[in-house]
Symmetry: C2
Subunit: 146 residues, 2 copies
DNA sequence: CAATATAGGACTAGTTTAGTCCAAGTTAGT
DNA sequence: ACTAACTTGGACTAAACTAGTCCTATATTG
């Protein structure tokens, strides 16, 4: 299975939860709202802060809030913050694969990666808060070779 | 990182290797050709046989060959054979998530999954053997909401 | 019948991941 | 000034998963 880590999954849940208003939410509040253990939520929020997706307010009455408008935060960014670069294969980056010469698949993987990256960038938090999904037109993928 | 398992990666390598001709290849030959250990290649080929992507010929002079034409085998099928269903989140399937009512993100994930699935289905083995990738038109994704 | 393959499954070692916990720093309110 | 509520950073552990190995049985060729 082409899978997303649980952390990235939680990350989007936490972000979606906070996207509903612009208030400051404490870790314990988010934990209660989502049914995820406090330490775990806390850890996730810390990671999101480090990537500037979430702003923190320290001290009593402190907490976390989205750093930007929900419409300006993509799912791709969240996944990237939690799991690192979105890429389906390891050889897609700068790392040189020892059998690169024989590996004709590399550039194809990069094309696939690009599609996925693009798809995830187009989905933003504002869209995630809506129950109904946007209809996706995949016909263009079909007409082109990929 | 949204990642593909190493097994799925190996799987596509093995399939791409065999796609170059219609000959029967033994596990040891594929192993030598790709630089992957024999038992591992053997295991991968067995999995591919089970999913009818590869046909096996038993006995001396036996080996494996593609069950269909390279153009009729998609990367999606290979990944599915190695890793199971392509799906980015666990809640995308039939399993009912206990907090489904509060989870408005579900349908959106399904949309994303669909895009990825579709993208991978459009890439076939024949394309993978070519060094240059097909140009991908992602503009349609941009015009639609996702 | 001997040599060469695949078939199937059990098994192990290693890595990754999820999750917990603790000590320190920061702010609000009294 | 003090205390309570909260974040920060990092260390740590337990569990799950993955990759990879190995063994025995079966089939085919010559």
């Amino acid at each position: 299975m082409l899978r997303l880590s649980k952390m990235a999954d939680y990350g989007t849940q936490v972000m979606t939860y906070m996207a509903r208003d612009q208030a400051v939410h404490s870790a314990s509040e988010v934990s209660a709202g989502l049914g995820i253990a406090v330490p775990t939520v806390s850890k996730i929020l810390k990671m999101l802060v480090r990537k500037n997706l979430v702003a923190s307010v320290m001290g009593a009455k402190g907490g976390y809030m989205l750093a930007r408008h929900p419409a300006e935060i993509s799912v791709a960014e969240i996944i990237d913050a939690m799991d690192g670069p979105i890429s389906i294969t390891e050889c897609s980056g700068t790392t040189t694969c020892e059998r690169e010469s024989t590996c004709s698949t590399r550039s194809n993987w990069q094309g696939i990666n690009h599609i996925i990256q693009d798809a995830l960038e187009k989905v933003n938090l504002a869209g995630m808060t809506q129950p109904k999904p946007q209809v996706v037109d995949t016909s263009a993928l079909r007409t082109r070779g990929i």
